[in-house]
Structures are given as structure tokens and as C-alpha cells.
Symmetry: C2
Subunit: 333 residues, 2 copies
């Protein structure tokens, strides 16, 4: 057990591309805990695209991280000291303790988890925020009907991979969009999508016409930019677009101009931006279903694991560039 805490702080706000020098890694003493608090040794840190927004001062749905503060992030770990009645030493917990080895909590938003059947890290992926995001966005906003075609971008990622697998379970045609042949092979062969388009081949419109010959009823959007624009040309009347992310735009200094807005009107499309934390009431049902599908082998997942907290910044930069393959984690122990 390390006697020191290691933390990754936001050193400055990035302009355009995030750089490792936007972060600062510091060693600090282990924090003391007061009555009602507990200390958690984090085992895994989750890296997620939303963190890019928290690095900016721009208005967003959540508070920015201040310069000099520990970067925010989801974590799983184990309680190592407790003066909180609800948690005891040895408990496994999932929460938002940030980019650091140890975190102090008063129990707020900290959840005790059962790791007997499900690996600890899965609580940051399919059984965590990304899994709930896929479930709520697809089921509640996308409302897929059997026989419809569901397209999802960033299809090999933590959210997209679950979206397509749920679409299949619900009787839809699932088409992924991903970057590179390896990801596409994985999406089709391992995850069981009907098709996956490698957007890096530069033929997205033609490939979409082939992969979604009856048009697109639900487009689960994670990326934005020119991919979004091209998908809009293939939407069916009364299509739905759960707008979950715009990762292609997060580093952009000048945002992409979306041209095919007319498709939203002509096709009477419902587009809804959403943040999964607005839908906490739906999480229990999401995890009940996903947990069941995991046990039945109907949902699979993959993790990209960076080793050591000092590698978190580089792994995060890689995530924004699509270098991860499945859920991006940092192993902290």
C-alpha cells in the first residue's frame, strides 16, 4: 500500500488538442478522514470523453474543473479506512473520486458493489455510466422497434458497443461506424453487429447505403461532425437521434458546420441531447437488464487498460483521438 497519494491536477485549460502538459502530476500526503468520511484506494479510473468538457471554462452541463484541482473521474476501489456508518474497510465501491490513487468521500454518490459475479472494472463500463448511457439513450430516446435499423457511431467504444448489442437483442438491424478495420472486425465478429463501416475509408455515404439499405430509423450519435452530416442524408421519416456525444468536436477550435439540418425537418426527426445523470431513475432497470444479458453472454465488452496513474493523461489524449479499443481504463494498483 502506497503511503502517498498521487493526483493528476488540471494544470491549464487546453486550446484545441489536449496535451500532457495540460496536466500536472503531484504526490501528496494521504488525507486524514473526519467523522462521517471514508478513504478509498482506487483500483481503476475511468476515462471518458465528457472530461474534455470539464477541462474547458466554457458553459456546459457541469461545473468545470478549476486549475489546480484534481481531474474529475469515475473510479472503482476498496475502502481502506472508514469513519462512516454505511461503509466498512474492505467494501468495494464505485464513485467519482477523480484521477488519484486515494479519495476521501462522505458517501455521497458512492455505491457499494458486489464483485462476486461481475469484475470490478465492469462497474466503470457496461455495468456503469457508459452502460446506463447506452441503455437510456437507445431505449428511452431511440425507442427501437423490431425490424428497424439502428446505426451507432464510435461503435467499438464503451457506449457504442452496448448500444448495438442491445439493438440486436431488441430485434433491430445494428450497424456500427468505427475507425479502422480492426475495430470494425471486432464490432461484427465479436459483438455481433450486422455490419460496421470504417469511416476512415472515406466512403461513408456509399457504405451506409449498403449497410442500411432500408435507411436509418435510429442514429445513436457519439461523434458529430461530418459523420453526423452524412448519416442525416440516410435517415428515414420519423427517425430518432439520441445525441449522446460529439467527440469529433471536443478538441475543435472552430466547430464543424452541420449542413443537412433540412433532413431533421423533412423526415420529422426527433433529436434529443441527453446526459445520463439526468436519468438516474432509469439506472436500476438498465443494470438489471444489462446484468442479465451479461450472464447470458448476450453482451460482451472489451477494455483498454493503461497501467499507472502517471499514464492517465496520455491515455485520455488517445481516447479523444479514438486510439482506445473498448472501454478506456487506467489501472491504479
Amino acid at each position: 500500500m502506497t503511503e502517498k497519494n498521487i493526483q493528476v491536477l488540471l494544470a491549464r485549460r487546453p486550446e484545441g488538442q489536449v496535451q500532457t502538459s495540460d496536466f500536472k502530476i503531484v504526490e501528496t500526503p494521504l488525507p486524514d478522514i473526519a467523522d462521517g468520511q471514508l478513504l478509498v484506494r482506487n483500483h481503476y479510473l475511468s476515462l471518458d470523453p465528457y472530461m474534455r468538457g470539464r477541462m474547458s471554462a466554457a458553459k456546459s452541463y457541469a461545473q468545470s474543473v478549476n486549475i489546480g484541482e484534481v481531474m474529475v473521474g469515475g473510479t472503482v476501489g476498496q475502502v481502506v479506512a472508514s469513519r462512516h456508518a454505511g461503509f466498512k474497510v474492505g467494501d468495494h465501491v464505485v464513485g467519482f473520486l477523480g484521477w488519484q490513487l486515494y479519495g476521501v468521500s462522505d458517501g455521497t454518490a458512492l455505491i457499494r458493489i458486489d464483485t462476486s459475479g461481475i469484475p470490478l472494472s465492469a462497474y466503470l463500463g457496461v455495468m456503469g455510466m457508459p452502460g446506463a448511457t447506452a441503455y437510456v439513450g437507445l431505449m428511452d430516446i431511440g425507442q427501437p422497434k423490431p425490424g428497424e435499423t439502428v446505426v451507432v457511431s464510435a461503435a467499438s467504444g464503451a457506449v457504442g458497443s452496448v448500444v448495438g448489442q442491445i439493438a440486436k437483442i431488441k430485434g433491430c438491424r445494428a450497424v456500427g461506424i468505427a475507425g479502422g478495420p480492426d475495430k470494425c472486425t471486432y464490432v461484427v465478429k465479436e459483438l455481433g453487429f450486422d455490419a460496421c463501416i470504417d469511416y476512415k475509408q472515406g466512403r461513408l455515404a456509399e457504405d451506409l447505403a449498403k449497410a442500411a439499405p432500408k435507411g436509418i430509423d435510429v442514429y445513436f450519435e457519439n461523434v458529430g461532425g461530418p459523420i453526423f452530416d452524412t448519416v442525416l442524408t440516410r435517415m428515414n421519416p420519423f427517425g430518432r437521434i439520441p445525441l449522446c456525444g460529439l467527440i469529433s468536436q471536443y478538441n475543435a477550435i472552430e466547430p464543424y458546420g452541420l449542413k443537412n439540418v433540412g433532413s431533421l425537418l423533412i423526415n420529422r426527426i426527433k433529436l434529443q441531447g441527453f446526459i445520463v445523470s439526468d436519468h438516474l431513475v432509469r439506472w436500476p432497470e438498465a443494470f438489471e437488464d444489462i446484468g442479465q444479458w451479461l450472464k447470458e453472454g448476450r453482451i460482451k465488452y472489451r477494455e483498454s487498460i493503461a497501467q499507472g496513474i502517471e499514464n492517465a493523461p496520455a491515455a485520455f489524449i488517445g481516447l479523444l483521438a479514438g486510439k482506445n479499443f473498448g472501454k478506456q481504463l487506467v489501472k491504479l494498483i
Copy 2:
């Protein structure tokens, strides 16, 4: 009674701006009617932005007008000959008999109207398709709550003027966007909006900040383009955007690129494209409410009336350029 029919045909598909030479005006014999048909002398023709889409071959929600066919359009008129059991000579009717003095109908989509309390022309405006559009878009998609701020573009137009007045009736702050000081004065002084911004002044962002100091909860979109982009920067969390039209784009050869798509995500906005004919089930309630508000003097309207069928093309071109003031009609009698 004219013994000849005069019709406006689509002569060719416009490229960019519509021109009068895209139309052809012809004189034809009065049509005979068969059993089950009736002949209507049209009194007013409605000119509406959607007609621009029908002139194009591009995929849209409705069939294009073929070259050489009579332009489609809503009309009100009077039955002058009938071999249809449901209509007799002298009945006033509203329907879609197109850009012509006389139209034959088998009764499909033709509705007998009561002109005792409401002027005939109103059935092409507040008590017709534009009124239903305003009602359905605002009430069903916009779902305004008392105290919220509703912004509507093309605010002096047939749809926009009703949107803002309903917003006021529902206890909202109503802010219009229109082109020019005369329209803005009308929107505030006569229609009773709380504010109206003249976008031609080129300070839309600043003026919106002043006119909607608590942000925008509902944006009823009729125009698209840079106005849409600017409004997106002022949307509140959980805002709604009924997407009714994109008139600024209909003549565009290269569509405007919408930059602030990120606002839809960050603010978890629900945007829904809609066409009022998909919501026929809602029309009776719309007209019951609007009819009541008209009688109570709570809804006002204005008409721009072009004289004579031969002036329909120029009036339509003016409509696309925002030269009308209120509902654009052509008087045919």
C-alpha cells in the same frame, strides 16, 4: 363568372432563387365534372414556404410537382357546380385545389366551412394550416410552461404570429424575431409580444440577451441558418425546439453549416421536425381553441393580399424573401 380557367403551372425547377420564369400561366377551358365530383371557384390562394420544396425534385416529405403541372396550394372558394352528394352549389369550402381559378374535386380533403363569424380568408391562415401548425408545434412539441420564454422566428408571419400569441395566452414571455422595424413594431404593439428583435440590425446575439434575459426555453424555428445558430447559444437546459421550417435555406444552393450543435447536447435539448399534416388528429382542438381566442380578441392576424392569379409567382418570390407582412394570400375574384 369567368368562362375560362387560368392556371399557374410549374415551368421548370428553380436553381437557387425562384424566378417568375419558373412558372407558366395558361388559360384552359372550364373542366367538366363527372359523377361524384364538384367544381369550385377559388376565391383565395394561400402562398406558403413549403411550396418551394414541391418545386424541387429533391426528396422531401411530399411528392414534387411535376413540370407542366398546376402548382399545389391551399384554397378557399365556393362550389359552382356539383355532382357530389356531400356538397351543393354555394357551399364555401377549403381545400388544396392549387394555383388556379377553378378546381375539380371528388371531395377528398375538401372541408365545408362556416363563414358567418369568420372571414373566408382566415381558413387559409389562423383557422387553417398555419394556425394548426403554430398550435401543434408550440403546444405538443414546445410544451410551454407559464413563466418560460418562447422565441419564434418569422414572428410576423402566418405561423409565427400565432405562436407568440398562444405563448402569451399560456403565460409565457414571447419574443419574436422578424426582419425590419415595421414588422417588429407590429409584433409588439399589435400582437402583444413582449419583445421583437429585428435581425437585420445585425446584433441578434446581444438583442437576444436583452430580450430573453433568462434564456430561451422554447424556440419555434421557421427560418434556419445563422439565426438558428445564434439562438442555440441562448437556449436553456431542457429546452425544446419545434422545427417547423427553414425558409432561409429553401433557395440556398449550398446549405448553411450549423455550428452550435453542441448546445443541443450540453443543454439536453429536444428538437423535433414536424409537418402539420402528420397531426390531423389535433386540428379540431386547435381550431376550437383558436376560434375561441379569435372571438375573444386574444388572437389577431394580418394578411398580405396580392391581387389576381397572374401575380401569384411574384408574391411567392416575395414571400421567400420575407417581403410579406402576415399571411400571404392571392385574391382570385
